[in-house]
Amino acid sequence: MADTAFTSSSANQQSWMKRNKLIITPWMFLLPGILFFAVYVIIPIFQSFYYSTLDWDGLGAAEYVGMANYAELWDDDAFYVSLRNNFIWLFLYLLAIPGGLTIALLLNQKVFGIRLYKSLFFFPFVISQVVVGLVFTWFYDPTFGLLNIILGWVGLGPINVLGDEAYVTYGIIAAGLWPQTAYCMILYLTGLNAVDPEQIEAGRLDGAKRLKMLWYVVIPQLKPATFIAFVVTIIGALRSFDLISIMTNGGPFGESRVLSFYMFEVALSEYGFRMGYGAAIAVVLFLIMLVFIASFLRSMYKEEKGR
């Protein structure tokens, strides 16, 4: 960084500063931000890599065990269950994107009170996931939950969504999709506002109707919105922790765990405090995320170069 600037004598510094003010100023402005970010985000990432090679309970002496934690992961059923669920989350969470688009199309009208409708549809996104989790836990409750009552009307059920290992992950994902769809909806509503009316007219003159118009004219113009929706949804899917923790605590018999939850359980619960093993799980999760981060940065880089 710019430390060298301050070692020279003050007279020199004055002129040096002046000459180089366009080089020094940005670093001065960046310094606090970079410092904070490095201490709390960048360095801990590398620390976690290091911890993952230790056998450490977080208190006593740590013992270097090389790749032993990863070797254990390789043979850990709970790890594979979590990994599988992570991928289910990744794929199904993407439903928020078409879901959000559908609602946005429904609401992109100018009738009386539409603004209030838009706000109310968006509303679930503002609520904390903890509350969303509670609300859906009751919604799914096998005894009195609204879901089973509705299923009862059409002669189905009752199903024990959160207590049955076949449904539990899907049930939690559905709860997560609720706010996430709202988020995507708002992105698309903004995107639809900016759709070029002339192109729509041109499309109409070419005889494009509804779905065709949507597919060939509108969606291409919504690309920026879709891109952001994709990014936030992937990140949301891989960060799923709150809902699982609130709704099932990983159960029944660990079938709703994902890596982020399993890591927490291993590293910080009464039964765990295996910091090294937890760090190894976190590293795996990080590497999965890295694939997405890298491709995201690549497309940003291209765009920046294009300017």
Binding site: L22, T25, P26, W27, F29, L30, P32, G33, F36, F37, V39, Y40, V41, P44, I45, S48, G58, L106, N108, Q109, V111, S119, L120, F123, V126, S128, V130, V131, L134, V135, F136, W138, F139, L146, I149, L187, Y188, T190, G191, V195, I200, R210, A225, I228, V231, R239, F241, D242, I246, S260, A267, L268, G278, A279, I281, A282, L285, F292, F296, Y301
Partner: protein, 281 residues
């Protein structure tokens, strides 16, 4: 405009739309409506199995009174004490970083920027163990400052992305003109850029407020008692105390969810502007 404005379609379609709209809204908000109804029911409705019927009596005041008589107000206060400083800290740090990255051209610019962006997307879990250790070493474990410092640092990633893009879109001629006048860089930041950033600052503030208020993971990792835990974590203790008392748990949840909801409705324009920055070109 797409889809075709509804007023241009047949009267039947218009009517259909007007029915569809409220109906779909009710379905969409059904789980929430249920909780709202729960929260004003008396205890006896649950023991007698009247879960979904009309409340046999209105007990909203009793239920909410119990919530406010518990630790919930303290948890709410903690949330405020965590959220507000975080918002302020984030805005200060990121308007500076955003300024540096948005205005100056230097080689490392894009890499510093990418560091912030990438860091913003990492899974929390990879930070968990080291950040917890760091907080313990600083003596800030289970304190509000401990949580605030981390939140500021982490949110700086997102905020920098946001601010930098916003500043990029400002007319660069203004800065050029100021430089020609001989105005120092610091004064350009303060007198030229800052006034223009007001809408971005408002949008960011509302957004960060909501994110931090709703944080649960870090609250669980870095705090544990009523003296420092925010309401998201507090609601689980509240619920443990009233396990199976659905009317009270519902009332508690609604109280916990209220501030960001109020913030959203009051500051809707800024909120949506913040969220959708980049959704259009």
């Amino acid at each position: 405009m797409f889809p075709t404005p509804i007023e241009k379609s047949s009267p039947a379609a218009q009517l259909g739309y007007k029915i569809l709209l409220p109906a779909s809204l009710i379905v969409w908000l059904l789980p929430l409506i249920a909780v709202a109804v729960f929260s004003i029911k008396p205890d006896s409705d649950f023991t007698s199995g009247n879960y979904w019927g009309f409340p046999s009596s209105f007990e909203g005041l009793t239920n909410y009174g119990l919530v406010f008589g518990s630790d919930m107000p303290r948890y709410m206060l903690n949330s405020v004490l965590i959220t507000v400083p975080t918002v302020i800290g984030c805005i200060i740090l990121s308007s500076m970083t955003g300024f540096a990255l948005g205005v100056y051209k230097f080689k490392a610019n894009i890499w510093v920027f990418f560091m912030f962006v990438a860091g913003n997307f990492v899974p929390f879990q990879i930070l968990m163990v080291p950040v917890r250790d760091l907080t313990l070493d600083l003596g800030l474990y289970n304190t509000i400052p401990g949580l605030v410092l981390f939140h500021i640092a982490f949110q700086t990633g997102f905020c920098t992305l946001f601010m930098r893009n916003f500043i990029r879109a400002l007319p660069f001629e203004l800065i050029e003109a100021a430089r020609v006048e001989g105005i120092s860089e610091v004064r350009i930041f303060w007198y030229v850029i800052m006034p223009l950033m007001k809408p971005a600052l408002a949008a960011l503030a509302v957004l960060i407020f909501t994110f931090i208020w709703n944080d649960y993971f870090w609250a669980v990792v870095l705090t544990q008692g009523v003296e420092s835990q925010p309401v998201t974590a507090g609601i689980t203790s509240f619920n443990a105390q009233f396990r199976a008392a659905y009317h009270l748990m519902s009332a508690g949840s609604i109280v916990a969810a209220l501030p960001p909801v109020a913030m959203f409705f009051l500051m809707q324009k800024h909120f949506i502007a913040g969220l959708t920055l980049g959704a259009v070109k």
